[in-house]
């Protein structure tokens, strides 16, 4: 079935668009294969709203007399209302949106059709590969190697074709270890600390099962990781009890008797549905139209979102403590090793490694730890906070990561090279994008669908040398130290830039920013070319006061 066959009514005139904190607009609504387009009627200065259909999380219709109202709730948390004259048109539009926004075939998605003139499809895809990372990290050369045992994705379908493992462990051992780990995710290197050579490894749980099965090769692999030093830490992202229970369903943990040089620490992390439901509750609380004072803080607390942020940051802190303070290597895993594991390993690196705090470094980190490490974006981001569909595998792990990074950014306003705007952009792109970066669930699936040949890479586009200045933190000062975020409840704050981005306050800030921007432009035009040479023109897209402040300093 062609995409266009889903479109029963392509155009409706006289539609009224209502957005929060904006006056209603009348105009024409179009549905295309991938977009919803609203254009204001006024001939000159026409205003358009273009929304990727994939961004639409829920469509709600309501009849009012002979016309209908459609409420569109987007994955980026925006809520719109469209009043459509004619009940039939209304129903047609709604069903077209519903059908087209829930396409499951990757190759039909918009990134396969997005062809901006300034980008070409040739050349390498992505910022870096495992091999390149290995080459750049001299510290690894001695004891570590790149293995291509997974080159056809048969050992671990969710890993990349190349992984970094201890030099002394051969591919056969890796294959056996993979069989002993859920989803084949055997322990691989995630990070090697530049100060002391200690490493962070990640994997999935071992399949010890009820009979306490062992795997010699898996034990050897981990033994090789610590290479003679007395001790490594396994940070298990489940409570001890949960880990015990996992044995009943074939999973398990590294027992002391089999992995004598590894000390296990359990930290309970919520996962999957629970986290998704937190997001739903949080967004519900944020969108509560009653401005009543009562219960906001309780609602915020009951959503438990901030407690997930707390767990993630404090476990990352624990990993950092092991690696940096105590000088031990760490293996991180939960069950599948595709969500909380990546969350914790990413945050630990952000805290430890100054190189991961630049724009490119951060994007490389995300590419390694989320894209290449096989976070199932397509499943996790199929729906966001508004959908009425039954939840399947949705879980806002990546959003949680971005929130944690924002907390770090807020506590260390000078330490990160990127701005809040970059985090907001990534939050949006993960759910609906013009780029292929967040498509599919693994590299294997990406290859099968031809993503690298047929779509553009978001990270490449973001980290071009002429990166948009709005994504830069004008206050950035490189800092060699570990940046330990405080995880006290008083130190963690709601990420208003994301969760309240469509409310009055954010709207105020947006208007303020637009005004700044127009004045900046006017200023430049007046000043002529010689000025623009000298003038750092930071336009900040973020909603934070500090960013706006910088405008004032930099637009001069």
């Amino acid at each position: 079935m062609e995409l266009s066959e889903h479109i029963k009514t392509a155009n409706v005139e006289d539609v009224t668009l209502k957005r929060p904190f904006h006056p209603a607009l009348r105009g024409t609504l179009c549905v295309t294969s991938h977009h919803l387009l609203f254009s204001d009627r006024k001939d000159e200065a026409s205003w358009q709203l273009l929304i990727l259909l994939k961004n639409i999380d829920a469509v709600e219709k309501r009849a009012v007399g002979s016309s209908g109202t459609i409420t569109i709730k987007c994955k980026d948390l925006l809520v719109l209302q469209l009043e459509i004259p004619g009940m039939e048109e209304c129903l047609n539009i709604a069903s077209s949106i519903e059908a087209l926004s829930s396409l499951e075939s990757v190759t039909e998605m918009y990134p396969f059709f997005y062809r901006p003139s300034h980008l070409t499809l040739h050349g390498p895809w992505g910022l870096s590969s495992t091999e390149q990372y290995y080459k750049q990290t001299e510290r690894l050369w001695d004891r570590w190697r790149v293995s291509t045992v997974n080159s056809d994705y048969s050992v671990c379908p969710s890993y990349t074709s190349a992984v970094i493992v201890p030099r002394e462990v051969d591919d056969d051992k890796l294959i056996r270890s993979a069989r002993f780990r859920q989803g084949g995710r055997f322990p691989v290197l995630s990070y090697c600390h530049h100060r002391n050579g200690m490493v962070i490894m990640r994997s999935s749980q071992p399949l010890t099962g009820a009979n306490k099965k062992r795997c010699k090769e898996d034990e050897l692999l981990l033994q090789a990781v610590i290479d003679g030093s007395e001790l490594g830490y396994v940070i298990d992202l489940r409570s001890a009890q949960q880990a015990q229970q996992a044995r009943m369903t074939g999973g398990g943990f590294e027992s002391k008797s089999c992995y004598s040089h590894w000390k296990r620490i359990h930290r309970h992390h919520e996962r999957g549905k629970v986290v998704q439901e937190s997001l739903i509750k949080l967004v519900e609380a944020c969108n509560d139209p009653s401005h009543s004072v009562d219960r906001w803080l309780s609602k915020l607390e009951n959503s438990k979102w901030l407690s997930h942020v707390h767990s993630a940051l404090s476990t990352a802190g624990l990993v950092v403590e092991c690696v940096e303070r105590d000088g031990h290597s760490v293996l991180v895993h939960g069950s599948e090793g595709t969500d909380n594991t990546l969350l914790v390993s990413t945050l630990a690196q952000l805290i430890l490694d100054p190189a991961s705090r630049t724009v490119t470094g951060f994007l490389c980190l995300l590419e390694r730890e989320w894209i290449q490490a096989g976070h199932p974006f397509q499943q996790r981001c199929a729906h966001s906070a508004y959908s009425h569909a039954r939840l399947k595998l949705e879980c806002p792990s990546f959003l949680l990561l971005l929130d944690c990074v924002w907390q770090v950014w807020r506590q260390f306003p000078l330490a990160l090279e990127f701005s809040e705007a970059l985090l907001l952009r990534l939050a949006q792109e993960a759910y609906a994008s013009n780029y292929g970066t967040f498509l599919c669930n693994s590299e294997q699936e990406k290859c099968a669908a031809g993503v690298k040949e047929n779509t553009h890479c978001l990270f490449q586009s973001l980290s071009k040398p002429d990166i948009e200045e709005q994504y830069l933190n004008p206050l950035y000062e490189p800092n060699d130290l570990a940046i330990w975020p405080s995880v006290h409840p008083q130190s963690l704050q709601l990420w208003t830039g994301l969760f309240l981005r469509w409310t009055e306050y954010a709207q105020n800030m947006v208007e303020a920013r637009e005004e700044v921007w127009s004045i900046v432009k006017e200023h430049r035009e007046k000043a002529g070319p010689d000025r623009s040479n000298n003038t750092p023109s930071t336009h900040c897209d973020t909603l934070t006061p500090f960013e706006n402040l910088m405008d004032e300093l930099t637009i001069l």
Partner: protein
């Protein structure tokens, strides 16, 4: 005189006693050391390790001193003193159990912390501090009214209260409707609680709308009316042709009704036909005191961790902040739309001061400047008789006094909330707010002493004590917000939604060592550097332009006056729903 361990004593400060003692630090273990008590402060320094642990507590901060344990108490460090402070902390000291070792220190603390209860003077009167500037000159009422554009054909200055005969809690200089005679004022005074008649607080230069403040009308159970009062409010309304005068009664409706029983009340519809009465639902001093007490319970000494947000919610502190702020927003919004308003609560010295001063802060950018803020405090709080002595209990041992209440702290918190939402709009920084609060209690300066001007005059506060502003203005660099961008006359409406209010962690939880590292100082430091760089850059640019000769002179003006050309971007928020 021997210096006090390692801090310099203030001129006029004298040592009274020092003693070996154990400070039971809630964040570390017990710390051995020495405590020094002077007529101004309690200073503690540890002697048991090289990492210094010190306490420097002005005695004015102390609200209560108690004995802890007895001579026969068992357990380590069970015998000593417990000190409750007004600034969100408590201190515990242990002493040796033998020989009544705490008796002398307890007696001395009790005497010097509560000098007024012992027929002694507050330290402000003993201090010999000298500063270049005389902070008592910061606020000159006539200058301030002239700055506002008063007197004019609608409003006049009256000296009817020059010897506090009309109203003993008002200042001497008052601004009243031009058409109101002195006789009118006297008659209105009979109908307003404590004779606090409606007088002008602020005048809007463009639309001539005004904020006036007063106390409740003495309506009583019988629903008394007073023609003079009614006519007087109508004069306020007529002054700029406001169609309906809005009377903001800060109290919840029920409380206003209840006040009738004690002779008070509110302006009824029948009597004041050209006025509209709005209740702002702000609770009284007792509710605020209990709320802050609950807040202290969850932040000191241990911060409630497991259910932080719901515990915070159950204190209702932020909810009260929200109500005060949204009340002030309504006042400011009404005035900027051209309508004059009257603001009162019961006596017009607590909630009224909060509302008028916050509304003025929103409406008038002058009050957001370093000096202007001092003027605002001097005017709306100090001169109009916020009862600092009663609310804070300076030098008074009666810690359970029902008159005490953190109304001024709540106001400063509201100001802090505004500075968070508009980080470039205020010339001063958070540090100034904290210093103001510290010296609200310290009794080192005369600024916040006594309940009203008449008492301050009779105690010759201006002659015998130093003003806080002398101290603050002697080194302003500490308190300047480097991000400040002066802007003109835009109105600043904060968002008074719970979602956008934060607990002022760096004040309320500042004693907790784990909170301290979060202060924003690195950002400030960086900004200062950037500002310096900007200045350099501008200078360079100017030089380049000059050498570039004349045709680009228009550019030069642009680049050399950055602030005029930069947008008032934060101030574009024109309307806020409550």
């Amino acid at each position: 005189m021997e210096p006090l361990a390692d801090v310099a004593m203030l001129p006029g400060e004298e040592r009274v006693i020092d003693k070996e003692i154990i400070y039971i630090c809630p964040f570390n273990a017990a710390v051995k050391g020495k405590v020094f008590i002077t007529n101004y402060r309690l200073y503690f320094k540890n002697t048991d390790s090289d990492t210094p642990i010190t306490l420097d507590v002005p005695l004015g901060v102390i609200s209560r001193v108690e004995k802890m344990g007895g001579a026969s108490s068992r357990g380590e460090n069970s015998y000593g003193l417990e000190i409750t402070c007004k600034d969100m902390r408590n201190l515990r000291f242990a002493l040796k159990q033998e020989g009544h070792s705490r008796r002398d220190i307890f007696d001395i603390l009790f005497k010097y912390a509560f000098p007024l209860s012992h027929g002694m003077q507050l330290f402000a009167f003993l201090s010999q501090e000298k500063y270049e500037e005389n902070g008592w000159n910061v606020y000159e009422p006539m200058d301030e009214y002239r700055r506002q554009g008063v007197p004019n054909s609608e409003w006049r200055v009256t000296f009817i209260n020059k010897s506090y005969e009309l109203c003993d809690t008002y200042p001497t200089v008052l601004v009243v409707p031009y058409k109101a005679t002195e006789e009118d004022l006297k008659r209105v005074a009979t109908f307003r609680s404590r004779c606090r008649i409606p007088v002008l607080s602020w005048f809007h230069k463009d639309n001539h709308a005004v904020i006036t403040r007063c106390s409740q009308p003495l309506v009583g159970m019988s629903g008394k009316r007073n023609k003079d009062d009614e006519r007087y409010l109508d004069l306020i309304r007529e002054a700029n042709g406001t169609t309906k005068l809005t009377i903001y009664d800060a109290r919840p409706n029920v409380n206003a009704v209840a006040n009738k029983a004690t002779g008070g009340g509110y302006e009824g519809d029948d009597a004041y036909q050209n006025a509209e009465l709005v209740f702002l639902d702000i609770h009284n001093i007792h509710v605020m005191r209990e709320s802050l007490k609950k807040l202290k319970d969850i932040v000191y000494p241990n911060v409630e961790e497991s259910h932080w947000l719901s515990s915070l919610e159950s204190t209702h502190w932020l909810e009260h902040i929200k109500l005060v702020l949204s009340g002030a927003i309504q006042v400011a919004d009404k005035v900027s739309s051209g309508s004059s308003v009257v603001v009162h609560c019961s006596d017009g010295w607590d909630r009224t001061a909060q509302l008028t001063s916050l509304a003025m802060l929103m409406l008038d950018s002058y009050y957001r400047s370093f000096r202007g803020f001092q003027v605002l405090l001097e005017k709306e709080w100090i001169s109009f008789g916020h009862k600092f002595a009663s609310r804070i209990g300076h030098g008074d041992k009666n810690h359970a006094d029902q008159d005490r209440s953190p109304i001024f702290l709540q106001f400063i918190d509201c100001v802090w909330q505004m500075t968070k939402q508009f980080p470039t709009a205020f010339e001063f920084n958070e540090r100034l707010l904290v210093v103001i609060l510290d010296h609200l209690y310290s009794c080192r300066f005369g600024t916040f002493l006594y309940n009203c001007e008449s008492v301050r005059d009779s105690n010759n506060v201006r002659g015998k004590t130093v003003s806080l502003w002398s101290f603050v203005n002697s080194d302003t660099s500490l308190y300047i917000n480097p991000f400040y961008t002066p802007e003109s006359s835009r109105v600043l409406y904060p968002v008074a939604s719970m979602r956008h209010l934060e607990l002022w962690v760096t004040y309320y939880i500042r004693w907790n060592p784990r909170i301290q590292h979060q202060q924003q100082s690195p950002v400030e430091q960086r900004y200062k550097e950037l500002l310096a760089m900007r200045d350099q850059y501008l200078k360079k640019l100017e030089e380049l332009k000059l050498s570039d000769s004349t045709p680009s002179s228009t550019h030069l003006t642009n680049s050399s006056t950055p602030n005029a050309a930069t947008p008032n971007q934060h101030i574009t928020h024109l309307q806020t729903p409550f």
